[in-house]
C-alpha cells in the first residue's frame, strides 16, 4: 500500500487548501502510534482548522481513540509530527499541550471520581489564573444546569450521563482553542446529546474554535461535522467534507428514514 | 561414615575452626562475644606454632539466630570446609538445630549456649563451658537475698536469652523466700513502656531483676528515671556488652548507672596468668574483634570461647591428632584437675608440658574448667558493678555449690 512520504506542514497546508479546508490549526502528519511500541495507528494525517468541526468515524477498534491519545500526548508518537498553531508540539508533554489550548474529553476515565463536581470543574480551569477560575466554572455550569444541583457531590456518585456531562463541562472550563471529544454523546439523554452537539460544539466552532469529534453514532456526528475522516485498521481510508457526506444520497435517505437521531441500520442477517 | 570432618590425621594445609553463631538479628551480640574469644585464642595458638605444626584459620558462619537459616549454612560449612577441627559459639537461639548436625558430622563443639535442654545432653561432641541460663538466674536471687531485699520484681524482655534466665530466677525465688511483687514482660523495641513503668512503681519493689536488649532498656530506664523511681537493678550476664552499657549508661547518666546496676556473670578470676595471656592475645587481634576490643577481656562469654579454642588445641596436641573423632576423647584429660597434674594457663605452656610427657590441667581465663558427665562446666558466679566498658568491679561471689543447692 502506498504511503505518503514525509509531508511538510506547508505541503499539508497547500493540500488542505485545495480540498476546501480551512488552514489547519492542528496539523498531524504521518502519525504512527500505538501501545508498547507496537503501532496501532499507522501513517495517519489529519488536520483541524479553527471554526471546523472534524468528525472521525470508523468501526470499533479502528484506532480513533488511539490517534487522539497521540494528539493529546497521552501516548508517545512513534512517527510523525503534530503541529499546533504553527508550532511543533510532537515532543511536548501532555500538560504542556493542555496549557497551549488543547482540551480533551476521553472516552473512559473522564472525571476525577474522588473530587466533587465543583472541584472537578476547578481542575478543568487549572490553566487559568486563580481569580478567573470561578467565572469560567460558573459559565460552564450555566451551560449545563443539570450540574448545578450536584456541585458538592463526589463525581463517583453521579449517574453515567451526569458524569459525561461533567466531563464535557470540565473541558469547557479550560476554554480550549481545540477541543477533542471522544464519543461525547455516549450515555447522554437525547436532549442533552443534542445540546452538546448543536449548542456546545456548534457554538465553539462559530466562536472560532476547532473541534475534533469522535462519534460512533455517525449520523448524529454528521449533523454538525464540517469535515469527516473514516479510519479503519489504523489508517485513514476516506475523507470528505461534511456536506459531501450528508449529500450522498444513500446516506441522506438513511438519515431521513431514521429521524436523524442515530445511524442504526437494521440489516438482515448475513 | 562420610560425615567425619577430617579424614586424615596428617591434614594438609591450615586447620579450620568455625564460629557458628548469630552475627546479625536480635541476638547478634552473641557473635561479637564469640569473636572476642575465638580470635585471640586462635591467634595465640598460631603464635605458638599452631597445632601439631598446622596453622589455624577461622570460618565465621552467621546463623542470624534463625534455625531455618542455620541448617543449610551448617551443612555447607561441613561440606565445603576441609580440615574442620571444631566449632565455637553455637549460640543460644539455634543451637538445638545445629548441635545434632555437627554432632553427627563429628565436629567438636565448644559452646556457651545456655539452653537447659543441654543440661543432660548426650551429644558426644558437645562441650559447654558456661553454666546454663537458669544458674545465672538463681545467682541473681541469691545475690539479692544476700543484700537483704524482700520485695523483688522481674522485668524481662521476650528474647531467647531473657526467657532462658527467667525460669531460673522464678524457681530460685521459691528457695530464697523473696517475694515477687511484679512480673513484667517487655515486648522489645517499643517506643514507650509507660504503662509497664507505672505498674512497676505501683507494685513498689525494692529491686528489679532484669534482662532486656539495649533499645528496650534505654526506653524503659529513662521512663523509670523521669518518673523518679529508678531503683536498684540486677542484670544477667547478657548485659555485659559495651553497646548495651554505653546506650544505657548514657540514658541513665554515668554515676546513676554505676550506682543502680549490678550484673551477675560467671566468675572469672582477674589476676591469673590465664587472664594475662588472654589479654595479650586479645591485644594482637584488636582490629578483628568488636570495638572497643578491651570490653571482651572481662566478658565471660568471650572468656569461655577463648578457653574452648585452647582446650581443643591442647586436646589435639595430647591426642597427636587433629581429627575430632580422635581428640574429642582427650578433652577431659586436659581440663580435669587431678593429683600430679601440671596446671597450665597458656597454650604454649600446655604444649611444652605435654611434649615433656606430663599430664596437664588447663586453667582457663574463665577459671577452672570442670566438665560433668554431660559435658557441662559450671562455675562460681560473680556480682559486679560496671564502671566503664572494660572495667568491671566484682563485689560479691556466689559459689557454684549454693546455686546448685537452690534446685
Amino acid at each position: 500500500m502506498p504511503t505518503s512520504p514525509e509531508v511538510t506542514p506547508s505541503e499539508w497546508r497547500a493540500a488542505a487548501a485545495v480540498a476546501g479546508r480551512r488552514e489547519p490549526y492542528l496539523a498531524a502528519t504521518g502519525i504512527t502510534c500505538g501501545y508498547k511500541k507496537i503501532p496501532v495507528v499507522r501513517d495517519v494525517s489529519i488536520s483541524v482548522g479553527l471554526g471546523e468541526i472534524v468528525l472521525i468515524m470508523g468501526p470499533n477498534g479502528a484506532g480513533k481513540s488511539t490517534l487522539v491519545k497521540a494528539l493529546t500526548g497521552k501516548i508517545p508518537l512513534l512517527e510523525g509530527r503534530v503541529v499546533l498553531d504553527g508550532q511543533d508540539i510532537s515532543q511536548a508533554k501532555e500538560d504542556e499541550r493542555a496549557k497551549r489550548g488543547i482540551g480533551y474529553v476521553p472516552q473512559v476515565g473522564d472525571v476525577f471520581p474522588t473530587l466533587t463536581v465543583q472541584e472537578n470543574l476547578e481542575m478543568g480551569g487549572y490553566r487559568w489564573p486563580r481569580r478567573d477560575v470561578r467565572t469560567h466554572v460558573d459559565q460552564a455550569l450555566e451551560q449545563f444546569p443539570i450540574l448545578k444541583a450536584l456541585r458538592r457531590r463526589h463525581a463517583r456518585a453521579l449517574s453515567g450521563g451526569e458524569r459525561k456531562t461533567l466531563a464535557i463541562a470540565r473541558a469547557l472550563v479550560a476554554d480550549p482553542r481545540l477541543l477533542i471529544l471522544d464519543e461525547p454523546t455516549s450515555n447522554l439523554a437525547p436532549a442533552i446529546a443534542s445540546t452538546v452537539l448543536h449548542d456546545v460544539v456548534d457554538g465553539l466552532a462559530t466562536a472560532g474554535r476547532a473541534v475534533l469529534l469522535i462519534e460512533q453514532r455517525v449520523a448524529l456526528g454528521l449533523e454538525v461535522a464540517t469535515w469527516g475522516y473514516v479510519l479503519a485498521g489504523g489508517c485513514t481510508r476516506f475523507e470528505a467534507s461534511g456536506d459531501e457526506l450528508r449529500a450522498r444520497d444513500d446516506l441522506g435517505s438513511f438519515f431521513l428514514e431514521h429521524g436523524g437521531t442515530t445511524a442504526v441500520p437494521v440489516t438482515t442477517q448475513a | 561414615t562420610a560425615a567425619s570432618a577430617v579424614r586424615s590425621t596428617n591434614a594438609k594445609g591450615p586447620l579450620n575452626e568455625a564460629i557458628v553463631i548469630a552475627y546479625t538479628g536480635p541476638v547478634s551480640f552473641e557473635g561479637l562475644a564469640a569473636d572476642g574469644g575465638v580470635y585471640p585464642g586462635v591467634s595465640e595458638i598460631n603464635a605458638a606454632g599452631g597445632i601439631n605444626g598446622h596453622k589455624v584459620n577461622i570460618v565465621p558462619v552467621d546463623t542470624k539466630g534463625d534455625p531455618a537459616d542455620a541448617v543449610p549454612l551448617v551443612d555447607k560449612l561441613i561440606a565445603t570446609t576441609s580440615n574442620l577441627i571444631g566449632a565455637s559459639g553455637i549460640g543460644t537461639a539455634s543451637a538445638p538445630t545445629e548441635v545434632p548436625i555437627l554432632n553427627s558430622a563429628g565436629v567438636t563443639m565448644m559452646t556457651f549456649a545456655g539452653e537447659t535442654a543441654f543440661n543432660r545432653s548426650h551429644y558426644k561432641y558437645l562441650w559447654r563451658l558456661l553454666p546454663p541460663d537458669d544458674a545465672n538466674g538463681k545467682a541473681m536471687d541469691l545475690y539479692a537475698k544476700s543484700k537483704g531485699y524482700k520485695r523483688v520484681a522481674t522485668v524481662f524482655g521476650t528474647t531467647t536469652g531473657a526467657q532462658g534466665d527467667l525460669p531460673g530466677v522464678l524457681s530460685g525465688l521459691k528457695g530464697t523466700g523473696e517475694k515477687l511483687v511484679a512480673k513484667i514482660t517487655l515486648t522489645p523495641n517499643q517506643p514507650s513502656y509507660r504503662a509497664e513503668v507505672e505498674k512497676l512503681i505501683a507494685a513498689n519493689p525494692q529491686v528489679i531483676f532484669t534482662e532486656q536488649n539495649a533499645t528496650t532498656a534505654v526506653t524503659f530506664f529513662s521512663e523509670l528515671k523521669s518518673l523518679g523511681h529508678l531503683i536498684q537493678a540486677i542484670g544477667t550476664n547478657a548485659l555485659v556488652t559495651s553497646s548495651w552499657e554505653n546506650a544505657v549508661r548514657k540514658a541513665m547518666g554515668r554515676s546513676t548507672f554505676k550506682r543502680v546496676l549490678t550484673v551477675l556473670s560467671t566468675s572469672a578470676p582477674h589476676k591469673t596468668p590465664a587472664n594475662a595471656a588472654y589479654a595479650r592475645a586479645l591485644a594482637t587481634v584488636k582490629s578483628k574483634v568488636g570495638s572497643p576490643w578491651t570490653q571482651w577481656e572481662g566478658n565471660s562469654h568471650s572468656q569461655a570461647a577463648y578457653d574452648g579454642v585452647i582446650v581443643q588445641a591442647l586436646a589435639m596436641t595430647a591426642a597427636h591428632s587433629v581429627t575430632p573423632k580422635v581428640y574429642n576423647t582427650h578433652i577431659m584429660a586436659v581440663t580435669e584437675p587431678g593429683a600430679g597434674k601440671t596446671v597450665v594457663y597458656t597454650y604454649a605452656a600446655g604444649v611444652r608440658a605435654l611434649k615433656a610427657g606430663k599430664k596437664i590441667q588447663y586453667y582457663g581465663a574463665g577459671g577452672p574448667i570442670v566438665f560433668d558427665k554431660y559435658h557441662n562446666s559450671f562455675g562460681n558466679q560473680e556480682a559486679m558493678k560496671i564502671s566503664t566498658h572494660d572495667n568491671t568491679i566484682p563485689i560479691a561471689t556466689i559459689p557454684e555449690k549454693e546455686i546448685q543447692a537452690l534446685g
Binding site: T72, G73, K74, K93, E94, D95, R97, A98, I102, Y104, P106, G109, D110, V111, F112, P113, T114, L115, E119, N120, E122, M123, G124, Y126, R127, R156, R170, A174 | S28, T158, I184, T185, L186, T187, N189, Q190, P191, S192, Y193, R194, A195, E196, E198, K199, A202, A214, T215, V218, T219, S222, S226, L227, S243, W244, N246, A247, V248, K250, A251, S291
Partner: protein
C-alpha cells in the same frame, strides 16, 4: 484508676508520634498510590541526622527541623531517582511495594554499615513536668502533642482549601486526566514527596525523642504502627490518620496499663482488623480500586 488516667495522657503523646508519621505516610500513599515501605528507612536516617546534630550541641528543636529536612531531601531524591524510573517502566502497584521494600532494605543496611551496628542513645533533658488532670506530662511531650496538632491542621487546610491540594487529590485518582487538564503533575508529585518526606523525618525524630535511642532498625520497628494508622484512617486522609493514631495510642497504653503489656500492640492491631472488617465498604470505593501509580 490513677494508672489509667496517667496512661490516657500518655496515650495522647504516643498517638501524636504515630499521627505525624501516619499523616506523612497517608498523603504519600494516597496521592501517589505507592505503599512506600522504605518510609521506615527514611525515618531512621532522619533520626540519625537528629542524633548527630544533637551530639554537636544544637538545640533539640532545631534538630527536629533538620531531621525533617533530611527526610524531605532523601524522599525527593529517592522519588526522583528511583520510584520514577520504575513508574516510567510501567511498574505496577504490587511490584512497586516490593521495590520500596527492597529500597528500605538497602537504606536500613546502609545505615547499619555506617552506624557500625550500634545503638546510640540520647540524653535529652525532658524539661519541666506539667500536671494535666491526673496525668503528668513533660514539656517535650507537650511540644510533641503540639506538633501533631499543627501538622494536622496544616495538612487539612492544604488538601481541601488550596488549589495545590485539590490538584494533589485530582492527580491521585487519575494522573493522565490531570495532565490533560494542564496540571503539572511532575511538580505536584515533587510537592507530595517534599511534604511527606518532611513529616516522615519529623516523625522519626520525635519517635527517638521519646524512645531515647536510635539504631538502624528504629524506623522499621516504628513503621507497622504508622501503616496501621494510615490504613485504619483511610488512605489519603490526614483526619482519618489522626483519629486512627489516637485509637492506636490509647488502646496500646490502656491494654498495657490493664496488665497485658505483652499484648498491647497486638490489641492495637486487632482494632485495625476489626474496624476494617466492620466497614469494608467504607474503604472500598470503585474509584480507588483500580489505582495507578502517580509518579
Amino acid at each position: 484508676m490513677n494508672v489509667f488516667v496517667q496512661t490516657l495522657g500518655f496515650g495522647v503523646v504516643s498517638a501524636s508520634i504515630i499521627a505525624v508519621g501516619a499523616m506523612g505516610f497517608t498523603i504519600q500513599f494516597g496521592l501517589t498510590n505507592v505503599l512506600n515501605l522504605s518510609f521506615g528507612g527514611v525515618m531512621t536516617v532522619s533520626a540519625f541526622v537528629a542524633y548527630l546534630t544533637e551530639q554537636s550541641g544544637i538545640n533539640i528543636w532545631l534538630c527536629l527541623v533538620l531531621g525533617g529536612v533530611a527526610g524531605a531531601v532523601l524522599t525527593i531524591f529517592l522519588g526522583r531517582t528511583v520510584f520514577k524510573v520504575y513508574a516510567r517502566r510501567g511498574t505496577r502497584l504490587f511490584e512497586m511495594v516490593m521495590v520500596t521494600l527492597a529500597l528500605g532494605l538497602v537504606i536500613e543496611y546502609a545505615v547499619d554499615a555506617v552506624s557500625r551496628d550500634q545503638i546510640y542513645s540520647l540524653s535529652f533533658p525532658e524539661g519541666a513536668s506539667y500536671h494535666i488532670g491526673a496525668a503528668t506530662l513533660t514539656e517535650s511531650q507537650l511540644i510533641i502533642v503540639g506538633i501533631g496538632i499543627a501538622v494536622f491542621v496544616g495538612l487539612e487546610r492544604l488538601l481541601h482549601m488550596t488549589r495545590l491540594g485539590k490538584a494533589l487529590r485530582a492527580m491521585a485518582v487519575d494522573p493522565g486526566l490531570a495532565r490533560s487538564c494542564g496540571i503539572p503533575t511532575n511538580r505536584i508529585v515533587n510537592a507530595t514527596w517534599l511534604i511527606s518526606g518532611f513529616l516522615c523525618g519529623v516523625a522519626g525524630v520525635i519517635y527517638v525523642l521519646n524512645a531515647l535511642s536510635v539504631s538502624y532498625t528504629t524506623g522499621v520497628i516504628f513503621l507497622p504502627s504508622i501503616i496501621a494508622a494510615a490504613i485504619l484512617g483511610g488512605v489519603g486522609s490526614p483526619r482519618g490518620a489522626v483519629l486512627a493514631a489516637l485509637m492506636l495510642g490509647l488502646v496500646t497504653q490502656l491494654v498495657a496499663a490493664a496488665g497485658f503489656s505483652a499484648y498491647s500492640s497486638i490489641a492495637a492491631f486487632g482494632v485495625l482488623v476489626v474496624v476494617l472488617l466492620s466497614r469494608p465498604s467504607g474503604v472500598l470505593s470503585a474509584a480507588a480500586r483500580k489505582v495507578e501509580l502517580t509518579l
